[in-house]
């Protein structure tokens, strides 16, 4: 992507180094302010904002990040995200249940790693096939995983309804089951994973992925390990999505079964990164915000303005149509997603100020 390209070049020039360091400091400062603001949200927000808006938004951003690493950076399309979320959720559940002495973050990470390993297996076909064919094979993974967790009671500890619900969420003696606790758990996880992912895509690994994405034949000709790169992308992506799945189950909903991670979820995640921007870290958050906030806002607006006056069913259908129209409109405005739209707007603003 162009932004990454310029950064590399800037990094070489002597003047570029100072500009880069000022910018880095500025960026670090603004990130710090943003984090402080996000961490203090529970002081002011009510349960509705935490439980119904912010927690799902953060987790959706994390799943989008996971898929974006695979699809946006490494160019491997996947419809198995819902399945990997369920692996993360069920794995973490079993770790929490069967190894209660493990601290929560370790269980989350191990759950993610298990999901990552499943992802590597699911990614094996990518060594031979690509594009739509790969989508079809990941689709098979999605259905297989959904079936697996529904079929075998062991995964859900033989619960009557094959559903899993989190044993007590606690870390270092703090009970995290309140809305604020669950929000902070989610926020901390998202921040750590995003920071690691942002480093990763700028590292050797990230460059390998982008080379594979842009042209895998060329990449292999210049000696880039294509197969290892693809499998690594599947591993990291599924790991992130797995952690997100565990959070979705335990920090957001509380009780889930395999249906919570069905094909619709996979599509939702894919739409989030397409709308947000493929190959962009920021785009994941923008895309997730679009998918989570917008329908809720439309609903509030709809019931606030027309509530009672219009048939509720018709109103709901209208909101759905409007949401769809907005997706189409944004993609026509900027096919590369909201992240590109935002950076374009920013550049225009800066150049207007400079003029």
């Amino acid at each position: 992507m162009s932004a990454i390209g310029t950064e590399t070049i800037e990094g070489f020039g002597p003047s570029g180094v100072t500009a880069q360091s000022t910018r880095d400091r500025l960026r670090a400062g603004s990130v710090g302010v943003l984090l402080a603001a996000l961490a203090s949200i529970p002081l002011v927000a009510n349960d509705y904002w935490l439980n119904a808006v912010l927690i799902p938004f953060l987790i959706m951003s994390l799943t989008a990040l996971g898929l974006n690493l695979l699809m946006g950076y490494a160019g491997q399309a996947s419809l198995g995200s819902g399945g990997f979320m369920s692996v993360g959720a069920y794995a973490t559940y079993n770790l929490l249940l069967r190894l209660p002495e493990l601290p929560l973050p370790v269980s989350l990470l191990l759950g993610g790693i298990i999901s990552g390993l499943v992802g590597v297996v699911a990614g094996l076909p990518s060594l031979r096939i690509k594009g739509f064919y790969l989508v079809a094979s990941t689709l098979a993974t999605q259905f297989l995983l959904e079936w697996l967790f529904n079929q075998y009671g062991w995964f859900s500890n033989y619960s009557t309804s094959s559903s899993i619900s989190a044993p007590r969420l606690a870390f270092l003696g703090h009970d995290l089951s309140s809305p604020a606790g669950r929000y902070l758990l989610t926020l901390a996880t998202v921040v750590v994973v995003t920071a690691v992912a942002a480093r990763l895509v700028r590292s050797q690994t990230g460059r390998t992925w982008m080379a594979i994405r842009d042209m895998d034949t060329a990449a292999s000709v210049i000696g880039i390990p294509v197969s290892a790169g693809k499998l690594k992308a599947f591993f990291v992506s599924s790991l992130v999505i797995g952690i997100a799945g565990a959070l979705w189950a335990f920090a957001y909903l509380g009780t889930v079964d395999a249906r919570s991670f069905n094909l619709d979820r996979s599509f939702q995640i894919m739409f989030a990164i397409i709308i947000g921007g493929m190959g962009s870290i920021r785009g994941n958050f923008l895309g997730a915000a679009f998918m989570i906030f917008l329908p809720i806002q439309l609903d509030h607006l709809g019931s606030g303005v027309f509530g009672g006056a219009v048939d509720p069913g018709q109103l709901e259908n209208f909101q759905k149509a409007l949401f769809g129209a907005l997706i189409v409109w944004f993609l026509i405005k900027e096919p590369r997603g909201l992240a590109a739209l935002l950076s374009r707007a920013w550049t225009q603003l800066v150049s207007r100020i400079n003029r």
Binding site: L43, D47, A52, T160, S165, R168, Y252, G254, G304, G313
Partner: protein, 449 residues
């Protein structure tokens, strides 16, 4: 400034903004609304299951309107409600719950009806923290019958376990006694989902107790192709088929059964395979099909006469298609509304005639006693079974009626309410609730208060 104050200010600011918006479009908030009882409705008027949802809200809203218009509210406290669309999706359901849980214009939420099995599960713990009872009629977690472990979950009237047991008892009624069950083959054709599998444990237990053969045949979602399953039925030749479907699966099952020649009057549909919407698409071959339900169809109950006179004929009904008046789903809405209204009434008798909050409604539900006498006063004799709840028993009834489709409408063919073997199953349910409590670190509540 204390944290609490900050929260108040922010929520006030949000409230003011909302108020400004509503004022801008001309709706005014009347001053006496604190004397009304808020009752939020989580609906699904769009999405895959909308066709079954729409008549349910109609039944519910019509009964609420009847209470408001004819009886002047519950002891004078009128009901106000608004709708929040869930699409039957769990995330939207959670959003709706969080949106409404704080009440409206000072009137608290007494009861929340999740209207969706996954939604009710996701809200299990949240509802305990917020002290808002969830009433789930004929769905939801079966082990929540144990109110000592699940204080705010109320799977009232008819759980899936009771459904399975009543179906077996109806078969016993047909073959001439429970001792005749021995040696029979009963095949359960079920929607392969957590919901569909929920009856496996009780059926296995009943099979062991009565000596019938329990055959389980899954149908993958959505179930629009069932040749393989019914070929297996043809080969195994069960005496009865218990059909636990959902959505399109039911009519396809009836049609496929007809194709392989299995007698339709030996198929007993479960609660969610027993509505007009389930059997009509099957066409003529559906004639004779049976279904067990806690919501008997029919428009001749006394309450229906009143609803017709005061609500439908006055154009106040929420019903779009008048043909659905008295349908299974419409009646399920009426049933649900009756339970909710009576629980609020019970709570009012104890806490005073005023809007009731969730904690008080929980008390009301646990002391709810819908006796034959009370049902007769409401006009719901035959429509709703007698119901007595307690902290140890959040189900109460546990009986269903068996209906038969005559090609036009449903007729009751069972001998009144077919009771389930609750004495046999309750110990198993309590065991499961105790296991859940252990897993979650819950100390069961003392049931004596």
């Amino acid at each position: 400034m204390s944290l609490w104050n900050q929260k108040r200010i922010v929520s006030k600011a949000i409230g003011l903004a909302a108020l400004a918006l509503s004022a801008a479009v001309g709706t005014s908030v009347s001053a006496d609304e604190a004397k009304t009882q808020y009752f939020p409705l989580a609906t699904f008027r769009v999405g895959a299951y909308a066709s079954s949802g729409i008549p349910v809200w109609a039944g519910e809203i019509d009964y609420f309107r009847y209470i408001n218009e004819v009886e002047g509210g519950i002891n004078g406290i009128k009901l106000v409600w608004d709708e929040c669309e869930t699409n039957w999706e769990v995330e939207k359901g959670v959003e709706c719950y969080e949106r409404v849980k704080a009440g409206k214009n000072g009137s608290p939420v007494p009861i929340f009806l999740p209207h969706g099995d996954p939604i009710s599960k996701a809200l299990t713990e949240k509802s305990v923290a917020d002290k808002i009872p969830l009433v789930t009629i004929a769905y939801g977690r079966t082990e929540a019958i144990d109110g000592r472990v699940f204080p705010y979950s109320f799977p009232v009237v008819f759980s899936f376990w009771s459904e399975a047991s009543s179906a077996v008892n109806f078969i016993a009624e047909k073959v001439g006694g429970k001792d005749k069950l021995k040696g029979l083959k009963i095949a359960t054709v079920y929607h392969d989902s957590p919901y569909g599998k929920e009856t496996q444990v009780p059926l296995a237990h009943l099979a062991k107790t009565y000596g019938f053969e329990d055959i389980q045949i899954p149908v993958p979602h959505p179930g629009n192709e069932q040749s393989a399953q019914w070929a297996k039925i043809r080969q195994l030749k069960p005496d009865w088929v218990f059909l636990r479907g959902w959505g399109v699966m039911t009519p396809v099952a009836i049609k496929t059964a007809a194709k392989v020649g299995f007698p339709v009057d030996h198929i007993i549909g479960g609660i969610w395979s027993g509505s007009e919407e389930d059997v009509r698409p099957a066409g003529a071959v559906g004639k004779g099909y049976l279904a067990i339900t806690p919501f008997p169809a029919g428009a001749n109950f006394e309450i229906h006469q009143k609803l017709k006179k005061y609500i439908l004929d006055k154009g106040l009904s929420d019903l779009k298609d008048p043909k659905s008046f008295g349908s299974v789903y419409y009646n399920s809405g009426v049933d649900e509304a009756i339970v909710a209204v009576e629980a609020i009434r019970t709570a009012q008798a104890h806490f005073g005639v005023r809007p009731i909050n969730g904690e008080e409604a929980q008390w009301g539900l646990e002391h709810l006693d819908l006796s034959e006498k009370r049902l007769a006063e409401i006009g719901a004799t035959g429509l709703q079974q007698p119901l007595k709840l307690s902290a140890k028993d959040h189900e109460g009834g546990g009986a269903g009626k068996v209906l038969q489709w005559d090609g036009e409408k449903w007729n009751v063919v069972s001998n009144g309410w077919v009771k389930s073997d609750r004495d046999l199953l309750l110990p198993l349910i309590y065991e499961r609730a105790a296991a859940y409590a252990r897993e979650k670190g819950i100390t069961p509540r003392d049931a004596t208060n």
